[in-house]
């Protein structure tokens, strides 16, 4: 068995998820959105030493990785955390583990054949 393609596992690009979470500011934004669902870029920027524009840029990257969703509320967009891309990342890890389980099963059998020979 081969592990599923990581770019399609559970519909999320696992590489993009890892890349998105590699940045400390973006991880901070993920935490902030966990604590305050529906926050706006302005609201998030107030808690960080960076501009609203910089926050918006990070949110765009998180959006592209599927980690946040946005909806309009009046003049501003507000953001919600999406956890399913993380499930995709975990599914990928589990598939790689299952691959090793199968390989080790075959290894055990191969060593058994050698012992019997």
């Amino acid at each position: 068995m081969t592990a599923p393609d990581p770019t399609t596992a559970a519909g999320a690009d696992v590489g993009a998820v890892f890349a998105a979470l590699a940045d400390p500011t973006r991880r901070h934004l993920v935490e902030a959105l966990a604590a305050e669902p529906g926050a706006t870029a302005t609201g998030l920027a107030a808690e960080l030493p960076i501009s609203r524009q910089a926050v918006a840029k990070h949110l765009k990257l998180l959006d592209e990785a599927g980690l946040v969703s946005r909806r309009r509320r009046g003049r501003e967009a507000c953001f919600e955390l999406q956890t399913h891309p993380l499930a995709g990342a975990v599914a990928w890890i589990d598939a790689v583990g299952a691959e090793w389980d199968e390989s080790f099963g075959r290894l055990r059998a191969a060593l058994g054949r050698r012992a019997d020979a």
């Binding site: 966990a34 055990r108 012992a115």
Partner: protein, 136 residues
């Protein structure tokens, strides 16, 4: 610096002495019985690794570490997933050999704050998930 990465660890106890398990890990004919139908490996640091799987997927890699009957490590390139590092560790146990594989994948530099950060109780499961993705 720590890295953000995903890692997989699996272990198995095999009824064979470490030397025999080592042969199963380093002999291309033996490897083709369990790892992939076609395997080539040059068992020396910097040596080339090539595997072709049932479904046609090919992985190429490079041997990083060779410690006879104890440890073998290489990097290989999974399709679409970037390089990952595979390390096999052999331990002699009463019944034979415990073989452990540690595969560490897609990595990017990060600060060690992710696990330490306080998540909302509502997202306890998210923390669990992230915990599995972060390797200090």
């Amino acid at each position: 610096m720590s890295t953000l990465a995903h890692t997989v660890t699996r272990a198995v106890v095999l009824e064979a002495p470490p030397q025999q398990v080592w042969e199963a890990l380093t002999d291309p004919d033996a490897l083709s019985e369990w790892l992939a139908p076609e395997v080539e490996i040059e068992v020396q640091e910097g040596g080339e690794v090539r595997c072709r799987f049932d479904d046609g997927e090919q992985r190429r890699g490079e041997v990083e570490l060779v410690e006879e009957a104890e440890r073998l490590a290489f990097h290989w390139w999974r399709d679409g997933a970037g390089p990952s590092r595979v390390e096999f560790v052999l331990d002699a146990v009463a019944d034979g050999t415990r073989l452990t594989v540690i595969e560490t994948g897609i990595a990017a530099p990060t600060a060690p704050t992710l696990l330490a950060s306080a998540w909302g109780a509502r997202l306890g499961s998210l923390r669990l998930v992230l915990g599995r993705l972060v390797l200090a």
